[in-house]
């Protein structure tokens, strides 16, 4: 058994997951490899120290743990008396939806014979406009009347 396999088995043993029959090979390796034996000792020590630490902390907190039910009961009573928490985000969608509806009503063309700008083809052209301010316009020349889509004025759109 090489050291790499041995390290994996050391961890598996610590977790109670050593494959059947692997224990003997591991023990034989540990007897002949000081580095892996030290690794096993450290692995065991980690578990032992963590359990000891938790136990010691629980022992020192015992009296205060005795009062845990009193604390929990007080917390439960507090929860009953408290009004339901105000969650502004719960209704945040309402103004957003209202704004969406209003803008749809405002911007949807009132003339039903003319559909909103939604070109299937980009039948547009860039044209010069005779104006003091506008220099270039993007014009939709589709269907009936040409429509100005975009005007660039003094390099500002």
């Amino acid at each position: 058994m090489d050291c790499g396999n041995a390290r994996k088995l050391i961890e598996a043993r610590a977790d109670g997951l050593l494959p059947p029959g692997a224990g003997e090979g591991l023990d034989a390796h540990l007897a002949s490899c000081a580095a892996c034996a030290a690794d096993r000792a450290r692995t065991d020590a980690v578990g032992l120290l963590l359990r000891s630490r938790a136990a010691a902390q629980a022992v020192s907190a015992d009296r205060r743990l005795d009062a845990m039910w009193t604390r929990v009961r007080a917390g439960i009573a507090e929860g009953r008396e408290a009004p339901p928490p105000f969650r502004p985000w719960k209704w945040a969608w309402v103004p957003a939806a209202a704004a969406l509806v209003v803008s749809a009503l405002l911007f949807y063309p009132t003339k039903l014979d003319r559909s909103p700008f939604n070109p299937r083809t980009f039948d547009v052209s860039v044209e010069e406009v005779e104006s003091d301010t506008a220099t270039v316009a993007l014009v939709d020349k589709g269907e009936d009347l040409p429509r100005v889509i975009w005007i660039i004025e003094d390099a500002k759109s």
Partner: protein, 196 residues
């Protein structure tokens, strides 16, 4: 996970009674699990005061969420998920505020680990070595919170990978890799004191 140290009415029955308005039934659940809960939480948050708060808050939260509990599943795994998340939240808050607690009370002479936790294959002197304990404490505090939770659930609670994965809401592979990482870090910290 088996219900250790849980004589008396089964958890499911206590939960049904609690949902029916019997507060004493919930008290029994609190008494049954408070010590184990504390043992894990204190390992994650590092301070006994914070741990007591987290355990209390978790039981209160569990009381109000009990209606969502699925009968047939394990109460403790369900409760642990809530508990560990609360503990991790608390740790994040304290670590963000720069007040990371390092409770070294367990290292003082007045506190002696119970004999039942002694391990025959490990030198007893290990526990008497204050430097070693401090090194471990610092190494635990330096671990990312999820790694700390995994190694405590495994080593202190003896939970199986599957239960840890359910508790933390991650895969078993993630549990194994976090456990390996946490062990290596703690072993490295101990190694300097154990001639490794």
């Amino acid at each position: 996970m088996k219900e250790r140290d849980a004589p008396g009415a089964p958890d499911d029955e206590l939960i049904r009674r609690t949902l029916g308005g019997d507060e004493d039934a919930f008290r029994e659940l609190v008494e049954r699990y408070k010590s184990r809960a504390f043992g894990v939480v204190v390992g994650i948050v590092g301070s006994r005061d914070d741990a007591l708060d987290v355990v209390q808050e978790s039981f209160v939260k569990a009381y109000y969420k009990l209606k969502d509990f699925r009968f047939g599943s394990n109460f403790y795994t369900w409760f642990y998920r809530l508990l560990v998340n609360q503990a991790i939240d608390r740790w994040r808050k304290t670590s963000r505020s720069g007040e990371v607690p390092l409770d070294e009370g367990w290292l003082s002479e007045e506190v002696t680990p119970p004999d039942s936790f002694a391990h025959p294959s490990t030198p007893e002197k290990l526990l008497e070595n204050r430097e070693l304990g401090e090194a471990l404490q610092k190494a635990i505090a330096a671990l990312p919170e999820h790694h700390r939770a995994v190694i405590l659930l495994r080593e202190v609670e003896g939970m199986a990978y599957e239960d840890i994965a359910k508790t933390l809401g991650c895969s078993q592979g993630t549990v194994m890799s976090r456990l390996h990482y946490a062990r290596e870090k703690l072993k490295a910290a101990l190694g300097r004191h154990m001639g490794g």
